[in-house]
C-alpha cells in the first residue's frame, strides 16, 4: 500500500466519522464540528489526488483553497446562528424573557366567537 492510498483511506475514514457524528450526536456545536470533519476528509482526498502528479495538481489545490474559504464562512455563520439560537432558548437571560413573551403573543390564535 502506498502512502497515497493510505491517505485516501484516511480521508474517507474522517469523512465517514464525521457523518457518523452528524447522525448520532444531538448537540449542535458537536454536529457542526462533525460537518467540519466531513469537510476535512473531503479536502484530504482532494490533496491526495493532487499528489498523483509531480508537481502537484494545481487545479485541486485551488479547489481546496476555495473549499476552505467556503467552509469557514459557512461555519462562522452556522456557529453564530447556533449561539444565537441557544441563547434564545435559555430562559435565564433577561432579553429572552422579552423575546419569549413576544412569540407567545403572536402564537395565540384569535379568541373563539
Amino acid at each position: 500500500m502506498s502512502s497515497l492510498q493510505m491517505y485516501m483511506l484516511l480521508g474517507a475514514l474522517i469523512f465517514l466519522l464525521g457523518l457518523h457524528g452528524l447522525l448520532v450526536l444531538t448537540d449542535p456545536i458537536r454536529r457542526l464540528i462533525a460537518v467540519n470533519l466531513m469537510g476535512a476528509g473531503t479536502f484530504m482526498i482532494m490533496v491526495t489526488l493532487a499528489r498523483r502528479t509531480d508537481p502537484a495538481d494545481p487545479v485541486l489545490h485551488a479547489l481546496v483553497v476555495t473549499g476552505l474559504v467556503v467552509a469557514i464562512s459557512a461555519t462562522a455563520f452556522a456557529l453564530r446562528l447556533i449561539t444565537a439560537n441557544l441563547i434564545t432558548e435559555t430562559p435565564n437571560l433577561a432579553e429572552n424573557n422579552a423575546a419569549q413573551s413576544d412569540t407567545t403573543l403572536s402564537q395565540q390564535g384569535s379568541p373563539p366567537t
Partner: protein, 478 residues
C-alpha cells in the same frame, strides 16, 4: 450569451451596491432599486431566451477564453434561458408584493433577494461541476440568511437547515472530486462523453445524488423543509419553495440526463419514480394533518416535488422527451402557484391574526381576495384545467395512460392528485363556513391580497402560452 450574462450581473451589482449604500438610503429606495433591477433583468432574460430560441441550439462560452477542458464553461440552453426568465419574473412578482403590501419586508430582504436572483442565474448557466458546487453554497447561505430574517423564532430551523445543507454540499463535493479523480475533468459536456459504468462513477453519482436530494427536499431527505419554510417571512417562503429548491433539482437532472452513463440512469429511474410517488402521498397526508397554515403549504411543496421527481425518474427510465417537458412545466407551474399560496397564506395569517388552519373559518367573507388566490393557486396544484399544473400533469400522464404496463405509475399520479385535492379543499371548505366566522384582527391589506393573487392568475394564464412553452422545451431539450 451576452444577454444572459448581463441578466446575471444586474442583480449581483444591485446587491453589492445596496450593501455598499447601507444605512444611507431609505427602505423605499432599496425596494425600488431591487424591483427595477428585477425588471431590467427580466427584459434582458427575455432577449437572451429569444437569442437561444432562434439559434435553436445551446450557446456555449468558455470563460476567460481558455480552451475547453481548462476553462469554466457556461451554457445557455432554451431551458436555462427559460429558467433565467422565470427566476427574474418570480423575483419581480415577489418583490412587488414585498414592496407594496403593508406587511412588507425587512430592510435586508432587498439585497439578499438580489443575491438570490444572481446565485440562481449563475446556477442555471453553469456547465461546470465545481462551479455548480459554489452556486449551491451561495444558494444555501442566501436561503438561510433569508430564513433568519424572521427573527429569533426562525433561528433553530435555520441552524438545522444550514448544518444539513453543509453536509449535503460536502457529499456533492466528494462526488465531484471522485469524478475528477477518475476522468480528470470538471466540465459536464466533456464528462458526458467519457463516463463509464464503473464503481467509482457509481459511487460518485450516488454521493452527489444524496447531497442534491437533501438540498432539493426530495423524499426521504425532506424533513428540514417544513419548519424552515414555515418560520421564514412570507415573501421569503414564497421564494424558497418556488425557486430555491429547484436549483438542486436542476443539477440533479443535469447530472443524470447528461453525465451519468445511460445504463446507470436507466437503473436509477424507477428509484426516483417510486420516491416521487411516496413523496406525493406522504407529503399530501402530512399537509392534510397539519394544524398550521404555512406548514400545510410547506408540506404541499414536498408533495409537489414528488411530481418533479417522478417525471425525472420516468425520463431516465424511458428516455422520453415528453417527460423532460413535463418536469420543467411542473417546476414553473409549481413555482408560481406556490408563491401565490404562501403569499395568500401570509396575508390571511396577518389579517386574521391566526396561524392555524382552523382560524380560516369564514375566510371567504373576511379575506375574500386572499382566499380566492389560495383557491386558484390550489387549483393549479391539483391540476384543474386549464391551469399550468394541468398542462404539466397532462404531459406527464399521456404516456402513462397509453400503455397498460404503465398504469401503476398513472395510478400514483392520480392518487397524488386526490391527496392534493384533499388538503386544498380542506382549507377552501373551511373558509366557506360562514356560520362561525373568525373575525379579522386588522383591516385587510387589499393591495397585498391582490398581489398574492397575481402569481395564481399567471399560472392559470400559462395555458395560453402552453404551446410555446412546450415547443421551446421540446426543441431545446438539453
Amino acid at each position: 450569451m451576452t444577454y444572459a450574462l448581463i441578466s446575471l450581473s444586474i442583480p449581483l451589482f444591485c446587491a453589492l451596491l445596496l450593501l455598499l449604500a447601507g444605512t444611507y438610503v431609505s427602505e423605499r429606495a432599496l425596494a425600488i432599486t431591487t424591483i427595477t433591477a428585477s425588471l431590467l433583468s427580466l427584459i434582458i432574460a427575455w432577449l437572451a431566451l429569444q437569442e437561444v430560441a432562434t439559434a435553436n441550439q445551446s450557446l456555449l462560452l468558455n470563460l476567460g477564453g481558455w480552451e475547453s477542458g481548462l476553462a469554466i464553461r457556461l451554457r445557455l440552453s432554451p431551458l436555462s434561458g427559460l429558467l433565467l426568465l422565470f427566476t427574474a419574473f418570480m423575483h419581480l412578482l415577489i418583490g412587488l408584493y414585498a414592496g407594496l403590501s403593508r406587511q412588507g419586508a425587512v430592510r435586508d430582504f432587498w439585497p439578499l433577494s438580489s443575491f438570490l436572483h444572481g446565485s440562481l442565474a449563475a446556477l442555471w448557466l453553469s456547465a461546470d461541476l465545481f462551479n455548480l458546487y459554489i452556486t449551491l453554497e451561495l444558494l444555501g447561505l442566501t436561503a438561510v440568511a433569508m430564513v433568519a430574517l424572521a427573527g429569533k423564532k426562525a433561528f433553530r430551523p435555520a441552524a438545522n437547515y444550514l448544518i444539513l445543507s453543509l453536509a449535503a454540499s460536502l457529499f456533492y463535493l466528494l462526488g465531484v472530486v471522485l469524478l475528477y479523480g477518475r476522468y480528470n475533468s470538471l466540465d459536464i459536456l466533456i464528462l458526458a462523453g467519457e463516463t463509464q459504468n464503473d464503481v467509482i462513477t457509481r459511487l460518485a453519482l450516488l454521493m452527489m445524488t444524496a447531497g442534491l436530494m437533501l438540498k432539493a427536499a426530495l423524499w426521504p431527505l425532506h424533513l428540514w423543509l417544513p419548519s424552515a419554510h414555515t418560520n421564514a417571512p412570507t415573501a421569503v417562503s414564497a421564494l424558497l419553495s418556488g425557486l430555491v429548491v429547484k436549483g438542486p433539482l436542476f443539477i440533479l437532472w443535469l447530472l443524470w440526463s447528461e453525465v451519468a452513463p445511460l445504463a446507470l440512469a436507466r437503473q436509477i429511474g424507477p428509484v426516483f419514480g417510486v420516491a416521487g410517488m411516496i413523496a406525493l402521498v406522504a407529503g399530501g397526508i402530512s399537509a392534510m394533518r397539519s394544524p398550521y397554515i404555512k406548514t400545510l403549504v410547506a408540506y404541499s411543496t414536498v408533495a409537489q416535488l414528488g411530481y418533479a421527481l417522478m417525471a425525472l425518474g420516468l425520463l431516465l427510465t424511458w428516455q422520453l422527451p415528453q417527460m423532460h417537458i413535463a418536469l420543467w412545466l411542473f417546476v414553473i407551474a409549481h413555482g408560481l402557484a406556490k408563491a401565490s399560496l404562501f403569499l395568500a397564506a401570509g396575508e390571511m395569517q396577518t389579517t386574521l391574526g391566526t396561524k392555524r388552519v382552523s382560524g380560516l373559518r369564514g375566510a371567504t367573507q373576511t379575506v375574500p381576495v386572499a382566499m380566492f388566490a389560495f383557491a386558484v393557486a390550489g387549483g393549479s396544484l391539483i391540476g384543474l384545467p386549464p391551469s399550468g399544473g394541468f398542462l404539466a400533469k397532462w404531459v406527464l400522464l399521456e404516456p402513462l395512460l397509453s400503455q397498460p404496463q404503465n398504469w401503476p405509475w398513472a395510478f400514483g399520479v392520480l392518487l397524488g392528485t386526490l391527496v392534493s385535492a384533499a388538503y386544498i379543499f380542506r382549507v377552501v371548505a373551511l373558509s366557506f363556513d360562514r356560520a362561525r366566522i373568525n373575525p379579522p384582527d386588522t383591516r385587510p391589506d387589499r393591495l397585498g391580497h391582490w398581489m398574492a393573487l397575481l402569481p395564481a392568475l399567471m399560472v392559470w394564464g400559462m395555458a395560453l402560452t402552453g404551446d410555446w412553452l412546450i415547443r421551446l422545451l421540446a426543441g431545446g431539450g438539453v
